[in-house]
Symmetry: none
Subunit: 194 residues, 4 copies
Amino acid sequence: MTSDRVLENQQSAKGRVLRVAASLFRERGFARTTVRDIAAEVGILSGSLFHHFPNKESILAQLMEELILLVEDAMERQLAGKREPRDRLRVLVACELQAIHGEIGTGFSILVTEWRSLSPASQAHILALRDRYEQRWLDCLKNLKAAGGLSAEPSLARHFIRGAAMETWHWYKPDGPFTLASLADQLVDLVVHP
Amino acid sequence: MTSDRVLENQQSAKGRVLRVAASLFRERGFARTTVRDIAAEVGILSGSLFHHFPNKESILAQLMEELILLVEDAMERQLAGKREPRDRLRVLVACELQAIHGEIGTGFSILVTEWRSLSPASQAHILALRDRYEQRWLDCLKNLKAAGGLSAEPSLARHFIRGAAMETWHWYKPDGPFTLASLADQLVDLVVHP
Amino acid sequence: MTSDRVLENQQSAKGRVLRVAASLFRERGFARTTVRDIAAEVGILSGSLFHHFPNKESILAQLMEELILLVEDAMERQLAGKREPRDRLRVLVACELQAIHGEIGTGFSILVTEWRSLSPASQAHILALRDRYEQRWLDCLKNLKAAGGLSAEPSLARHFIRGAAMETWHWYKPDGPFTLASLADQLVDLVVHP
Amino acid sequence: MTSDRVLENQQSAKGRVLRVAASLFRERGFARTTVRDIAAEVGILSGSLFHHFPNKESILAQLMEELILLVEDAMERQLAGKREPRDRLRVLVACELQAIHGEIGTGFSILVTEWRSLSPASQAHILALRDRYEQRWLDCLKNLKAAGGLSAEPSLARHFIRGAAMETWHWYKPDGPFTLASLADQLVDLVVHP
DNA sequence: TATGAATGAGACTTCATTCAT
DNA sequence: AATGAATGAAGTCTCATTCAT
């Protein structure tokens, strides 16, 4: 059931649809974005969308799937060589913030905000991916706690971090006083008591 | 334009509509909740809703308005007599968590998640109320910082707290290992370094 | 799941929809009849149809159901007092022909021609009714055979009669050389050897 | 406008399309069969169909045409040497039943059931062929009547036979109690009083 | 000949809203 | 205040057909 990854493929029509959809879903929400909106922005007619996706929801589902994979890729790359638990946590935080605000993964916040828009079937599929993603966080936080760098319960810490990170979507402005990097630092400082 | 407060009025038909709507909006989201759903749960027919509200959006708008007022009421009551900045912060956190999960204000998270569903006109009205509400938080956090109990920027701290608190809606279970009170304590501990 | 009978209710909006649909389905077939066609002929807008029926198919389903019940009513009435097996067969044949061509049950042929247009769920429901209807035929033919008035296998005889009767829909013209009554007589003569 | 006969040509792509279409049209009906369904079963893409047929309807039209020709061929062959009117009628009945259920002409019933799906233009063309086919039946039945073997009106007899024969499509099972040959015999016995 | 992306008309359906009763 | 039939705009989706490659 897992499709090829096309989100970053600049040539692919599916990729173009996915990128446009990500932007519109983030901006207006899934329900308020019409397939005509998406098609118009892509430069095709609405009927043509269904040549690539069986229905509107599958656009959201595939988008979510690829977004998770993309963040995992970034984490994998940046974790290479990092051994210190605190450094590894900072990578996770930075990657998640990047995913929420960054160039490519624009729309990671959709994962939380549009969860209800998926059918139960799709939810189950994405859930499996999300579980793996969250497990990575838990492993990291458990190591940190074992090393004495965390006083809170790891799962609770993850909930707080996720909430704080996702919430940045509602207020963070790239041209404001903070860079994403400094945001990541402060979030880590908050959770990791010295 | 500001209407009377009816959310807590058990007899009032408007109050019943508002409470039902709060529950459904939180569960399914505004767009996926139909006026028929609301009417059915209230026990009337959909057409009758429009004797109480001019349109669907106004239900959401009035709901948001009353929810803010309700939380402010609770804060006002519990802040009475509290002078210590740290104690006052704890009251705010506890009240916000109560609003998100508690009996009456169920649906406070709608304020963030369904923001986009309001028309610009309604947004402006609610925004004024929200600004006042957020100002209360900032004042409290500034006092705390002045007293040396906060290392982070007050506005940033508020964003983190809000994110963490709202996120609890996605995972917190009353019958789980935490009480709302302990959650409030831990959130305060996180932000307020001793 | 069985709804009230409204096909013959001249006042009822549902009844009017059903009668119009019967006529159009018979004329153009189910698939080539649009809900707009039906609504236009009824004198309402297409959206209003769905106030009465959950979807297009349910119009066909309820229509089929009521048509069967209607024919059974007619048979019941005309069978009263008839004891002779041959006479009883003639009643069945005449009623079925009436249903196919007559004033009221116009569209009985839909039962055969549009069978495939129903979803499996609807098919099952109608099938139960149809079975009862066919059982009445078999009982009649068995009695006739027991009385020595039928040489063919009863079930085979029913198949032949049904085919011949339904086929009349494709060629019979009320202003042609035959009346429906004479058609019934000849069909009975054909099957019942003296 | 008359095309070559390709239905039985195993190699020809057009022949393959026609055979697949016959099967699908009979199974689901013309309107519920998509060109994609046909193409998929043939093993090509939907666009490629239009290299062989100008449009969907022409598939049905050519199919109908060839089916008639095919039955006429069979009749021609089996009528050779038969002089007795009753024997000749039996050939016609057997051939028609073969066409409805047999290997190749699978879908002969389409001629009646999907008549409405043709445009007037196509209807006219097929009508001419059908008239010739029906004339053959009438001639045969008239001869039979002249010979005293038929009491009913020839045209009426034909209608009855056609209906009964077509209806077999809805109930006849090759592994049931009847062979097609015995079915033909019984149908002839029914019509031809000794 | 075949491909398959794209078309575009039109289908069914949903749903907030209106209004006579 | 409530009803419930009706509205009508807008939505998702289907599908025969076209055409550059």
